[in-house]
């Protein structure tokens, strides 16, 4: 069947297509869960290649620090400006630091770092593994009786678990700097007042949530990109498809799970 004939048929049968897509979603989720279990199994057995993990830490950190910095700064600027505006109207200038930092620690820090890492690292891991798949490098590993999960997924997973919290804290810190700048220039709030307000508002629990989200984001990004990479077969165009699919899936799951953590930890009682 030609492509145009197929898409014509698809238009006539939208439910079939939706059903098929739903099936594919379930399949991918299943593959992700299996991959996650196997990865954790290796980690529990202590089967971790340290040199490779170090290499991946370097890669995740180096690939992401700049984009995370830029996005965190500008998100911080925009958010602080909006918050300052509103709070100044209510005469609550001294609370700017607290509100800005709450948003950063609880929500903006982890999600900004998560999205940027998904874009940079998730896509490159998916492209890398897909390429290895179609050039038979993964097959070569299997013939050498090296498990691709242990060899490729575990180091990336551990590295992401180590680097993601660091990047989230980094995003948060830069967002805070942006907040200080805006509060000082746009609302005349001195740095000391800003920081006082931060100290009074932020609780230890907020950092707990922050790290929980960071780790969850790391798991989502690595497992989704590796699961998609390791199941792709075919030719060069599939590298692009796998990359795009990884970004869409990882980001969607990132938003869903970050909200779920928020819902569980901060729901009004």
């Amino acid at each position: 069947m030609t492509t145009s004939a197929r898409s014509r048929n698809n238009i006539l049968r939208p439910f079939d297509v939706m059903f098929e897509q739903f099936g594919k979603c379930c399949q991918l989720i299943g593959q992700c869960l299996i991959l996650l279990c196997r990865t954790i199994g290796y980690i529990l057995r202590g089967d971790i290649d340290k040199t490779e993990t170090w290499r991946q830490c370097y890669r995740i950190g180096v690939q992401s620090w700049f984009v995370v910095a830029i996005t965190a700064l500008f998100t911080g600027f925009a958010m602080s400006l909006q918050i300052s505006r509103e709070l100044v109207m209510f005469g609550a200038d001294t609370a700017i630091g607290g509100v800005v930092s709450l948003a950063l620690v609880r929500e903006i820090g982890p999600i900004t770092a998560g999205i940027m890492v998904a874009g940079r690292v998730g896509s490159s891991v998916a492209a890398e593994l897909t390429t290895m798949m179609i050039t038979e490098q993964i097959d070569a590993l299997k013939v050498m009786r090296v498990d691709p999960v242990q060899f490729l997924v575990v180091p990336r997973f551990v590295a992401a678990m180590l680097m993601m919290p660091a990047l989230s804290v980094y995003a948060m810190a830069l967002g805070l700097i942006a907040g200080i700048i805006i509060a000082y220039t746009a609302a005349n709030v001195p740095v000391a007042t800003f920081l006082d307000s931060v100290k009074q508002t932020i609780l230890d629990r907020d950092f707990g949530t922050h790290f929980l989200k960071a780790w969850l984001n790391a798991i989502i990004i690595i497992i989704v990109s590796c699961a998609i990479g390791l199941r792709t077969r075919g030719g060069a165009e599939d590298v692009g498809i796998a990359t795009t699919r990884t970004i869409v899936w990882a980001m969607t799951l990132l938003f869903i799970f970050n909200y779920l953590v928020t819902a569980v930890t901060y729901a009004p009682r």
């Binding site: 490098q137 097959d139 090296v146 060899f151």
Partner: protein
Amino acid sequence: MVRQRQTSLTRDGSIEPMVEVRNLEKWFGEKRILKDVSFDVYPGEILGLVGKSGCGKSTILKILCGLLQADSGSVSMHSEEVGLVFQGSALLNSYTVKQNLAIALRRRKLNKKDEERIIYEKLELVGLRGLEDSYPTQLSGGQQKRTSFARAIVNDPKIIFYDEPTTGLDPVISTVIEDYMNDLEGRLNAASIVVTHQLSTWTRTADRIILLHDGEIKWEGDPEGAMISENPYIKQFAYAKREGPLLDSAV
């Protein structure tokens, strides 16, 4: 042209085959690539697997290595230690030549010194000393092939599959590789399958040839027999003729 070896004794039935393949069938979607393929490979024997491009030779090797699942039939291999030289080299691109070989040695958990010794010995053999710290993308096609060869034999496997081991190599290195294939076979008493289109390779290495066509074995015999056989398939193949049954069912 064909070497003498004591292993011609091995087919008297008293020796167990290393690889037993029975009634393999393999479909790719609607296409039935393998219909009914059965053969044995004995220790100390090199089996040449020939057939026109796309007839399923690489597919057979992948099934034997467990990389593909056959739709029916059975495969039994009497050694864990298997080496495969991939048609397309399949080197790990983000690792150097040396690291590629080290990965194959990983599970033996050798100390650094032994590991290095083995790696250098194999690299010496394929003439790649001095390139051990290069990345695969910095190598020529032939150098990649030789690295892939070194990697496949680094564990001295008892069963070795070569998918086009000499294609794209110059005649001198081809001879070195062929000699080494023969040497491994003699020294380790390994059972090997070599897939090749290169006449020199199958005449110099193979003890026995099977010709695959339309998913079935159409001819079996030794390399000298291939040159004098009246079987239309092997005759066309050995003399590289246009006329004959091999092109009739062209897709």
